[in-house]
């Protein structure tokens, strides 16, 4: 397949607010269930092992008109919960049998309660992962939580999830994560061959489709992109942080690239990069999942950093590793976790002499001129003087 075809397929899926793929997947076989999840992490292996399709629900983007969602949120709350409610109220996710609301922040947390009241017939779970990273404390707690999730899913589907089911899923997702890491490495190496506006939709589509299908797609994309002859431009290399939850509109990503930046690292929709190493397949699979989360997961604003002086170290290391020349800290407006983190992360960047800029966006931002201006000046400044 050609790059353009792959990208088109992904972009169509990404823009499809009716989730046709998931609907068709569900309809294809009697008894199939779809379990939705919000940013920023969900144990997809468990959902997959239950025979369900994990479906990433990441807000409504800039193409959805939000009417009822706004009725539930004050103006000083970010966009993602409103568009998620709009998806619910307008019946666009009426086929979803279960919903997982991860631990991201108080907004998502409270959204889980709204969902319970609005859709009492949908199985829903607020999934509180540990903020204590001691294997014998947080690890034990998390293993039991995973076990409870497993039981919840078993009730939803009416069938047992065996340890082997989970092990099989773990290896599929291990492969997925490995391939995702490869795409990221490929982009970091030759960003002109894998523009972020493409990589982004490739990743987003992956959170809405069967994992094996996505694995194939990732391989196809890399092969096709490597073969494509694209000119290298006089752009600077930057990393983007702060965008882990509410996603920016695709136009914003394009605007940043247009303004002279190659994005070589980002924290967009982290899910498939949340666990940074392969989860061991042998042994107690639930325990393995729990331990991987405890010991090998990314650092992001919704996780506590237990050690003094560690804050921001992770970001600095990532920037160095991917060879970024600067950081754009781009956060959704009113996103407390990211905005409260910003001063700490940025001071770590300053200490490491990494230039950065920061701005805010909303998933439905329409005006790109200020974005271009800021990203453009940033690119200018790196280009002209470093």
């Amino acid at each position: 397949m050609a790059v353009a075809d792959i990208v088109k397929r992904c972009q169509d899926m990404y823009e499809d607010l009716n989730f046709t793929y998931a609907r068709e997947w569900k309809a294809a076989k009697a008894g199939r269930k779809v379990v939705g999840f919000l940013p920023v992490y969900a144990p997809m292996e468990m959902i997959h092992a239950a025979g369900c399709l994990p479906l990433g629900i990441f807000g409504g983007g800039d193409q959805m008109e939000v009417i009822h969602g706004d009725a539930y949120y004050q103006s000083y709350i970010c966009r993602i919960p409103r568009s998620t409610i709009e998806l619910g109220v307008t019946g666009r996710v009426d086929f979803v049998d279960g919903m997982i609301f991860p631990f991201v922040c108080d907004v998502i947390r409270n959204l889980s309660g709204i969902w319970k009241m609005m859709f009492p017939n949908v199985w829903s779970k607020f999934f509180d992962t540990p903020q204590n990273f001691d294997p014998s404390i947080g690890g034990d707690y998390y293993a039991v939580e995973l076990q409870e999730l497993r039981e919840g899913l078993e009730q939803l589907t009416g069938r047992k999830i065996t340890d082997d089911d989970i092990r099989r899923s773990i290896s599929l997702y291990n492969e997925n994560r490995r391939l995702v890491r490869e795409v990221y490495a490929f982009r970091a190496k030759e960003p002109w061959k894998a523009p972020t506006s493409e990589v982004y939709v490739l990743m987003r589509a992956g959170l809405m489709m069967d994992v094996e299908e996505h694995n194939q797609l990732l391989k196809d994309y890399m092969a096709a992109a490597a073969a494509e002859d694209r000119p290298k431009r006089d752009n600077v290399r930057i990393a983007i942080y702060g965008s882990f939850c509410e996603q920016p509109p695709l136009n914003l990503i394009k605007s940043i690239e247009m303004a002279g930046c190659y994005v070589v690292e980002d924290d967009y929709s982290l899910v498939n990069r949340f666990i940074t190493e392969d989860v061991p397949v042998d042994g107690d699979p639930v325990r393995n999942l729990a331990m991987s989360f405890i010991t090998h997961s990314v650092e992001t604003s919704c996780k506590y950093v237990p050690k003094l002086g560690e804050k921001g170290k992770y970001h600095v290391a990532q920037v160095k590793q991917c060879g970024a020349e600067g950081v754009i800290y781009a956060t959704p407006s009113f996103c407390d976790p990211a905005l409260l983190d910003r001063p700490m992360i940025c001071s770590a960047l300053t200490e490491a002499k990494i230039p950065y800029i920061s701005f805010k966006y909303a998933e439905n931002s329409g005006q790109m001129q200020p974005i271009r201006e800021q990203a453009g000046t940033f690119a200018d400044s790196i280009k002209l003087w470093s």
Binding site: D62, V66, I67, H68, A71, S75, G366, Q367, Q369
Partner: protein, 430 residues
């Protein structure tokens, strides 16, 4: 006769309604809200009383068999002439004020030239006013500021060019003076003006003079006044004469359409969704929060940006063939958004259509917050005059709430004042 008056002091316009004790509307008056709330209230009240006189004339003429079938014509003739007299009076005031304001260093040594230019401008304005108030003449607005202002710009720029004088200077004098003039309530003497209007008219004076004069002689007693609206706390009224605008809008809508259950009001700075019960009592309401995005003022900014009158926005948007999606309804950035889109090559009417939809989408959210839309639904406030906004609203109501009867009254801008007047009647009569 006993008059009951409701005054709605809005952020953009101030409205007054005069009622008799049977809750029959006698007159309506409107003016733009200005820095001086007392004046705004006084002017709107005066306007409503003028309108009341017209109603009384109409009633009186009903008793003159010779004019049967021509009453509408006569009344509109009378009103037109009355407005013309009033306009000339205010124009005179403006000119005087302008001349007084030619002072300060920026005019040093140029006083004479400026004065002469001004005289020429006003001469032309006066001459032009005949056409403005001719039968079938189209006026951009009912407010002196808008009428005088737009002509002043075009005429002034031309005169200055001829005179080789910088337009900025004249503009500056005008800007200063118009405020002063606006904040001076037009002189009373309604009767005198009506007489003069009568004289100007082409109608058979002898036939109607008597009944008109009789109607003019009826004393209008201000029995009870109720104030409401955004600026109500600034009205010099005792507390029991003040009612919340929510209650007034609810009751006003009920008075116009007793079957109304849901009311939407889009004013200059706020949007309200109100649910009323079968007797006009408010059951629930929601307003926009502290952000004024998507309110009427938004259209004002757009109109300014496009150099158009508010009246013209709707019709232009109706010409759209392809709506542009606009996501931000921030009033302040509306202009920027507009320019952004124009720069991308979108057509003005398509962008405007998108902007209107954006406003209505916001209103839909507030309605949703207030508990949705029930049959019948009444749309009030200044924006209800805008056909493009109304079109989008109709579409969205149908999509979201099905077939609901939608009421829009040409006098819907007076809804709050109507409710206020009703409260006034009740305070005395019940």
């Amino acid at each position: 006769m006993r008059c009951f008056i409701g005054i709605d002091l809005g952020s953009t316009t101030t409205k007054a309604v005069v009622m008799d004790e049977n809750t029959q509307v006698l007159g309506r008056g409107i003016t733009n809200s200005r820095s001086n709330y007392d004046t705004a209230a006084a002017v709107s009240k005066q306007e409503a009383l003028i309108d009341t006189r017209l109603t009384l004339f109409r009633r009186a003429l009903g008793g003159v068999p010779e004019v049967a079938g021509k009453i509408d014509e006569i009344i509109s003739d009378l009103e037109r002439n009355f407005r013309h007299v009033q306009f000339l009076e205010q124009l005179g005031d403006l000119e005087e004020t302008c001349v007084k304001n030619i002072k300060g260093p920026r005019f040093a040594g140029k006083e004479k030239g400026v004065q002469e230019t001004l005289a020429e401008v006003f001469k032309r304005l006066r001459a032009g006013s005949d056409q403005l108030f001719a039968v079938g003449g189209k006026r951009k607005s009912d407010f002196f500021r808008d009428l005088a202002g737009s002509d002043f710009m075009t005429v002034g720029e031309a005169v200055c060019k001829d005179a080789g004088l910088g337009f900025d200077m004249i503009l500056n004098v005008y800007d200063k003076s118009i405020i002063e003039v606006e904040n001076r309530p037009p002189s009373g003497d309604m009767e005198g003006k009506f007489i003069r209007a009568l004289e100007k008219g082409q109608m058979a004076n002898n036939l109607i003079a008597k009944p008109v004069q009789d109607a003019l002689a009826i004393p209008l007693e201000e029995t009870y006044v109720v104030g409401t609206g955004y600026g109500r706390v600034r009205l010099p009224f005792p507390k029991e004469h003040i009612r919340s605008e929510i209650l007034c809008h609810g009751l006003g809508a009920h008075m116009m359409y007793p079957e109304t259950r849901t009311v939407l009001d889009i004013g200059g700075q706020d949007t309200k969704g109100i649910q009323v019960d079968p007797v006009g009592i408010v059951e629930n309401f929601q307003m926009n929060d502290r952000c004024a995005a998507g309110c009427g003022r938004y259209l004002g900014y757009i109109a300014d940006e496009m150099n158009m009158g508010l009246h013209e926005l709707g019709p232009l948007a109706m010409n759209s063939t392809k709506q542009v999606r606009i996501n931000s309804t921030c009033t302040v950035f509306a202009g920027a958004e507009l320019r952004d889109r124009l720069a991308l090559g979108e057509k003005r009417e398509d962008i405007l259509a998108g902007l209107h939809r954006a406003i209505i989408l916001r209103a839909m959210s507030i309605l949703s917050r207030a508990g949705g839309v029930k049959d019948q639904f009444t749309f009030t406030g200044g924006v209800a005059k805008n056909e493009a906004a109304v079109r989008e609203l109709r579409k969205l109501i149908k999509e979201n709430y099905g077939d609901v009867q939608i009421n829009i009254n040409p006098d819907s801008i007076y809804t709050g004042a109507l409710g206020g007047a009703t409260f006034a009647v009740r305070a005395v009569v019940n």
